[in-house]
């Protein structure tokens, strides 16, 4: 019985190791179980997210209310009612503004975009991904580019019928081709694990290229994912590891990935001019 137990344990560990190995690489399709769990949890996440933002609006309103009450004691009671309403309106207005910018982006863009709202973020401090409320039925496919009005957000990962995972450009699995705006030299923007979504690494693709703090990086347009010239970020630090080793830069994305609420997915790249495949 003891031997059987050990054999079962060994087989279980082998199966789990296989599972980890299979899911450690980029996958376009999720398993049935994963899809089922995600479809089950998605509405709850959406609801919680919306409830949280409403409550956040109330709390922000309450804080503002306290400040206003200090300034004007007589109008305290009246302000309470007005401020509660105002905070909800402000939240709606802010969301409206973000959506408006996204709509402008979709209308002005020469390629097809689908706007999506972020309903969840990765429950893991080491992986940088978000979940949006648009999926396969909205023409979202794996590996499509994701942008915001300020610039690149990342690429689509696994997709279900009604939601999609977006691998942020700061995630360790992300790699996006770019060029330095000042010199036009090609670079590769790679994510860094555990960087809390703040930074990415810029690697040089041509020997002899010089990286400078403040250099802006935009998409190269050499892939069928992003059009040319979409802003990615600005180089904050330049590291030179040692003699013979290639220097690399630390890039801060133009998009504030921590506060992002809406994104746009580039679904049709046929409008892109003279694009070559990756």
């Amino acid at each position: 019985l003891q031997v059987t137990r050990w054999v079962v344990l060994f087989i279980t560990i082998l199966i789990i190791a296989g599972m980890i190995f299979t899911t450690s690489v980029f996958r376009e399709e999720l398993s049935f179980l994963e899809k089922a769990v995600l479809e089950l949890v998605r509405p709850v996440q959406e609801l919680t997210n919306s409830a949280f933002h409403t409550v956040k609006g109330w709390i922000e309103g309450f804080i503002k209310l306290k400040e206003a009450a200090k300034e004007n004691e007589e109008l305290k009671a009246e302000l309470a009612a007005i401020y509660m309403k105002q905070s909800s309106l402000l939240e709606a207005q802010r969301q409206n503004q973000a959506l408006r910018e996204l709509v402008d982006l979709t209308v002005e863009s020469p390629y097809s975009l689908v706007a999506g709202e972020i309903i969840a973020r990765s429950p893991n401090n080491w992986l940088g991904s978000i979940t949006i409320n648009k999926g396969r039925r909205d023409r979202i496919q794996p590996s499509q580019g994701v942008i915001a009005p300020e610039g690149v957000v990342g690429k689509v990962g696994a997709v279900t019928s009604s939601s999609a995972e977006v691998i942020l450009l700061t995630d360790a699995q992300s790699a996006i081709g770019g060029v330095l705006l000042s010199s036009g030299d090609p670079v590769l923007v790679e994510g860094i694990s555990g960087s809390k979504g703040n930074t990415a690494r810029v690697k040089l693709l041509v020997w002899g290229t010089e990286l400078k703090v403040g250099d802006q990086v935009v998409t190269s347009g050499l892939s069928s994912v992003f059009p040319k010239g979409v802003p990615i970020g600005v180089i904050e630090e330049v590291h030179t590891p040692g003699p013979g080793e290639t220097p690399y830069g630390i890039l801060r994305p133009f998009v504030d990935l921590a506060k992002l609420e809406f994104v746009a997915v580039i679904t049709d790249v046929s409008g892109l001019i003279n694009q070559e495949g990756d």
Binding site: I20, F21, L30, E34, T48, A120, G194, K196
Partner: protein, 181 residues
Amino acid sequence: MVGWRLCLLIAFLLFNFFVIALVLESSVFCFLTINGVFPDIVAIITILFGFLRGPRQGAVIGFAGGLLADILTGRLVGLGALIMAFIGALSGFMGTRFMRDRYLLILALIAVCTVLQNTLYTFGMWVFGWQIPIFDEVFGVLPYLIIYNCLLAMLLYPIISKLNHFMEKVAIVKPKDNKTV
């Protein structure tokens, strides 16, 4: 004797507990961060349940919670489950040896388990070919994670303790001949 209905009830309760924890983590706590780090509620639940219910149940609870979190993340599925099972078993082992009402001990356990869990996870990521700038990032994430997890554990411990008390209470089934089984 613990019947299958009771097992189902406990499993159902825990499943819901984990789902709520993961939903909160992915849609609420990701906005309530300390220096960009959000707490690991599944780990906190695993450690506290393991501490109260022993190594075997701690491992099972940890594995279930970890697997659910892995499935929601969609990457390295199984790694978190294995590590969480180990953490659950470890805290269960500690629970059998120490007094359960010492908050300081629980906080120390949360801190140690958080460090262990994240070290093992980043090591696992490295084994499976992920690039991890260990020193920069671990030291940038871990201290905040420990503080956040400890703070949240203090709030969650009374709730989990009550749930455990309920589980212990319903586990005592009195048959018709008045014998306690």
